[in-house]
Symmetry: C2
Subunit: 400 residues, 2 copies
């Protein structure tokens, strides 16, 4: 195949997003329609990103996909849903534009290669970045424009929020077909330049309950989840949008923590119960509350997804002191020099008063490392042909 020519080849990157109003539970498993709206912050791709190359060629005999260097089964239902959806949108667009006959390219098979620049062990929502990147890259290849929520969402619900930069709302929608269950930007990435994000990667002993199975069990068994979705989240969505618009950090921070806690509460109310937080997560929660109490104001917030890792929100003037507090409470075990990755943080001393206020016993090695980042833009097309993950033969470069 080395001599053959690729019809189209495109490489894009997409970001990770962290929900501050959590999504947990589907009202439609097939279409991935949520039981409540959610709201997230898009993390900067300088630190955390998925890169995806998609290529089509008349010589490809089948759709194929490689994730982090390993070929995966393309028949996987969610992958199929994305491919089907993007091709449907492409057909729809062509026919609406009155071009009559569909271009040949729509019948071509596609090859996809995708890599994350962060370890799966980081427990970050790699599927959200991954499916957003897939949807965005396929849209370039097939010439689809407009909102891709439906495509990304059918890969992984929260993936639709990774289609935009800044602050992003995923409206739950009301329609049975999910046409109104879409993501949209609430505020752009430059809206709140002082905001900083720290990912605290926690040493976990084992794989947790997967989120797909977990949320299904929660919907079936937790009365608290139903109540939350119907009676708590709508007001919280409004309040969170206000906090973001007004850059009200204490409001934003408190609501973020409360919503994380409530999400984990509904997990615990699930039967059998689901626990994503471990003792280290709880020590981080305590550290944040001690830190805020010491300062007499809410300067730091935590949020946890379906795993023990903490995502911390704070402002640029507080990052250094909080990192010092983390280092004090969770002394790095071995990799002291690489404890802090990403954005540079000037080391700051910890006052004796603050040290005394941090009441938890130091727990060495419980936090593996920190990734410092900020709010970032949505998916990007990379123009440099050298970055393609697929070679001229349509196979991963490294697997030639």
């Amino acid at each position: 195949m080395a001599s053959e020519k690729l019809q189209v080849v495109v490489t894009c990157t997409a970001p990770v997003n962290i929900a501050v109003i959590k999504y947990w539970g589907k009202r439609d498993e097939a279409l991935i329609l949520p039981i409540n709206s959610s709201l997230s912050v898009t993390l900067h791709q300088d630190q955390l990103r998925t890169t995806t190359t998609a290529a089509i060629s008349k010589d490809f005999t089948e759709d194929r996909i490689w994730l982090n260097g390993r070929e995966e089964a393309v028949g996987q239902p969610r992958l199929q849903a994305c491919l089907r959806e993007i091709r449907r949108l492409a057909r729809k667009r062509r026919s609406m534009e009155g071009e009559g006959a569909l271009p040949l390219s729509l019948s071509y098979k596609v090859h996809v290669a995708s890599v994350n620049n962060f370890p799966t062990a980081a427990g970050l929502a790699s599927s959200a970045a991954g499916y957003a990147c897939l949807a965005y890259t396929l849209a370039q290849v097939y010439g689809v424009e407009g909102d891709l929520s439906e495509v990304a969402r059918q890969g992984s619900g929260s993936a639709c929020r990774s289609l935009y930069g800044g602050f992003v709302e995923w409206q739950m929608g009301e329609q049975a077909d999910g046409k109104d269950s879409i993501a949209q930007q609430v505020a752009p990435e430059w809206h709140w330049p002082e905001l900083r994000i720290l990912v605290l990667v926690v040493s976990a002993e084992k794989k947790q309950t997967g989120s797909t199975v977990g949320m299904q069990t929660s919907v079936e068994t937790s009365a608290l989840l139903k109540f939350r979705a119907e009676s708590v989240v709508p007001a919280r969505m409004k309040e969170m949008m206000r906090c973001i618009k007004e850059r009200d950090f204490p409001g934003f921070a408190q609501l973020t923590m409360k919503d994380s806690n409530q999400f984990h509460a509904t997990c615990l109310d699930t039967f059998p119960p689901i626990s994503y937080l471990n003792d280290t997560s709880r020590r981080i929660i305590q550290l944040v509350h001690c830190f805020n109490t010491h300062h007499g104001q809410t300067k730091v917030a935590y949020t946890f997804d379906a795993g023990p890792n903490a995502v911390i929100f704070t402002l640029d003037d507080t990052v250094a002191e909080f990192v010092a507090a983390v280092r004090h409470s969770f002394p790095p075990s071995a990799n002291g020099d690489k404890f802090l990755k990403g954005l540079q943080v000037t080391p700051a001393p910890l006052s004796d008063e603050l040290k005394a206020a941090l009441t938890t016993e130091p727990s060495p090695g419980s936090v593996q490392y920190i990734i410092a980042t900020q709010v970032g833009p949505g998916p990007q097309v990379l123009d440099d042909p050298h970055v393609h993950l697929l070679g001229p033969d349509g196979l991963p470069q490294w697997a030639a």
Copy 2:
């Protein structure tokens, strides 16, 4: 004082109770009126009990109290509430009986000494047994008969449930004065002879949020707690009473676990969040679910109060195997011979199949020891004068 004579001296014991439908949150802080009804199992006093001696004498110059050998401030509001309430009931009774003038004894000061036969470290609700015992003993001294819910409740809410043996309901009541917020027996202690209870004492790193402050914060901040109290608990109370009446163990066990989980969920939904469960508690939860899944039926249940210790319910035919499973998952560190206290349990081997089904990594020393017990009777009067905790001088025997 050694030569003076005590007017009346009485010694009683009272049991610990474990809620299977949890009480969390007051609608009246002063009267200790709960936001929902609760239901508990009374544990046998052969294993866990409070012993209290109360004495009155015309020579006592003030009310005094010794807890576990240490004199405590008698001015403490809750203690005062109990004393005031019992004296009020005594006066009321005498006046109703038309005896006219009140007996002198009502104006006498009281001395109280109380001890638990279990370490405070066991994290069991010692205040419930303690205030039940205080109310019951004072009632003997002052000649008060009838329900003592109001007296015990004003010491510690759940203490009213320790006034009865067997299975006990604390009806939340509706009246503002709390007259209808009383405990009553649902089934006597001999109703379900096969039921066994294991207290798994977990090594905890530090003191948790106290339950008085904790539930106050929960009432103020958790929307899920309000919903639980109003919309979930009423149906659960009915269902739990049915399970007990019919001795439906799987039903009883599942509801017990669900209610424990939901209580801890509302703690997590509190702001700042409260976490009573630690990683060991969660391993115990997982162990129980693995055990039940392995057997294809619910043979064991867990419940957790405001601390990391587990209370396990099971039937006599399952105790030995479950203890073996605990021993396998939490190998005793040093005190191997004293790992199991209380009722005797014949050691049973663990099948290889069950061993394989217990997927959690063994965690040595995380469970300190087990107390095996069963359902037991309510408070008892001890007739033997040798058991009095107060000597003829009205002072603790050991502090002579």
